[in-house]
Symmetry: C2
Subunit: 340 residues, 2 copies
């Protein structure tokens, strides 16, 4: 690959002049500029090496992102919006999947640090205990955390306002005349999962409705988990009349399992999901869900990160994206409900 030096030699100017021409960083007389352009053309020189530039400038215009599984539609949508925001701001994204594996998280974190990413976005289960000491390596690297909990280093947070979302979902079911309401939660040790459940509890309490513990089941945020949870619910006997399923993937699992075992949704059981992934509207029945804007989540994360790059000593920022319910066909009013 041709370098600036080569171009400089061919154009009989100094490297610094070439640099200024290429970057437009200083005035260069027209004829010399032209000579440089021509030489560049001739040598097929295309853009300065980002790696050399990064070395000199101590900034890579790259951000790293750790995500549990980019294959999960919710994550996929967030990742995409992150990438989009990066693109618009002139950054590139290095994506690392952790697959929930601590070892992998550690190694990925290390390589991202070695690569001198300018910042980090984490949307994955967190390390704890001894492993948590790896975060000390971060050494002031700006980090934005999405999706969970307490963390022992300073960082910004973008969150989905999950508690309010949980309230919204439950309240929606209540407003539709339901009082026997169950909840399929995500892994309760993850903050967002727990907050959604707390929202459920809040709303039930506020409405003076009893919570049947047999109807709250913890699952893993995956389709299979939702399916298993529904099977378990059914094995226990009487079903509630409505179910708040804490994410759409699990809701898809319960829809599927319900259909398989002949319980009709929403006639016999109303279901509301969470996340409003793109596919939700294509389920049968179309899935009513709590919408949170993945585009805004991603953009907010990137913006927070870049803001911090420019102003490293701001106090940690918190940001919540408002959820809202989007109505579809998986929740029925309890008046028309047909008891099984």
């Amino acid at each position: 690959m041709a370098t600036m030096k080569d171009v400089a030699k061919l154009a009989s100017v100094s490297t610094s002049t070439v640099s200024h021409v290429i970057n437009g960083t200083r005035f260069v007389s027209d004829d010399i500029a032209k000579r440089v352009q021509d030489a560049a053309q001739q040598l097929n020189y295309h853009g300065p090496s980002a790696v050399a530039r990064s070395l000199k400038q101590n900034c890579t215009k790259t951000i790293g992102m750790l995500v549990t599984t980019s294959t999960n539609p919710f994550y996929a949508e967030v990742v995409q919006s992150v990438e989009q925001a990066c693109y618009q701001q002139g950054y590139n994204l290095i994506l690392c999947n952790t697959e929930g594996d601590a070892q992998r998280l550690k190694r990925s974190l290390s390589t991202l640090i070695e690569r001198r990413v300018d910042g980090l976005i984490m949307m994955c289960a967190m390390l704890e205990g001894d492993d948590a000491q790896i975060y000390r390596r971060l050494g002031g690297l700006p980090v934005v955390v999405m999706d969970w909990g307490e963390v022992d280093f300073s960082c910004d947070r973008i969150q989905g306002h999950s508690r309010q979302g949980g309230i919204l979902a439950t309240q929606y079911l209540i407003d539709n005349g339901h009082s026997e309401i169950g909840c399929i939660t995500g892994p309760r040790n993850r903050q967002q999962a727990n907050l959604r459940y707390q929202g459920f509890v809040d709303a039930m309490n506020a409405a003076n409705l009893p919570i049947n513990p047999a109807w709250v089941i913890e699952a893993n945020f995956e389709t299979e988990g939702g399916k298993a949870a529904f099977a378990k619910l059914q094995a226990q006997g009487e079903l509630p009349s409505a179910l708040f399923v804490c994410n759409d993937m699990m809701a898809i699992g319960v829809l599927h399992e319900a259909q398989r075992s002949g319980v009709q949704i929403p006639q016999q059981l109303s279901v509301i999901g969470y996340d409003n992934i793109q596919l939700a509207k294509f389920m049968t029945p179309a899935l009513t869900s709590i919408h949170q804007s993945k585009a805004r989540l991603g953009a907010a994360a990137v913006n927070a990160l870049i803001a911090r790059l420019h102003e490293p000593h701001l106090p940690p920022q918190f940001m919540d994206i408002e959820p809202r319910v989007t109505e579809r066909a998986s929740v029925a009013s309890n008046e028309v409900k047909v008891k099984n």
Copy 2:
């Protein structure tokens, strides 16, 4: 951030010695090695700067990937397997979405080149005409192309053997007693889309079945496209008894629209999809589909790329991943079919 120089100074050794200790590239006496380790520890030195190293070694251990929309489940699964393979081989992945936008493709390509990625995986619509000259910038950069067509530069190819997949799908419908078979294709100017359609044609011809042109509709590989295509099909009058929908996303759209307008699947219309995305089995009815292993596609792409890095002058490689049908509930045998 501490550098090797700092460590060297503190340990009173030369930088080169530090380098050898850190990388294990040469024998270093135990006591000096220890001194270096300690100094590194003390200065909180963590790993050599990948950017400096890349500059020196002229290799970034990074590969770039251009993809249309990483949000599409099929792509998402492939991207994930690519990332996984990269991880295993010690590479990092820079992901760029093109969103089908030529401008964006061009800019992303440029930055990837400036970043000196070691190789490129492209799974996106291709540039044509004048824009195609951007590929000349590649200058020998190893490229693996997935998912389409003719291309005017040398590269390796990983493909899904779409024609055979099309035959498989159609044959499966025929074997189930169908003879009135329609096909909803992807954008026919994309090779994979066209090959699937060609497979359909092949199988129909081989079975001496007529193709009703009203029953082949071109759509865009998205859920909405499938939905629209089905609506169009229905508006035209008599439906076929079975439909080969050339990817699962469109099939999901079809399922949805069919349900909405009261045609029962598979009783009135059998549907087979293509790709076998993870969600396919959770549709109602569970979607019968042509499976192609996303894991193998991704791994093959990365392996081909890395093989070429080591052996740049191999002739272009082609590789097909075998498809197979995975049976579920969206195709019914025609004997039981209930004419509407």
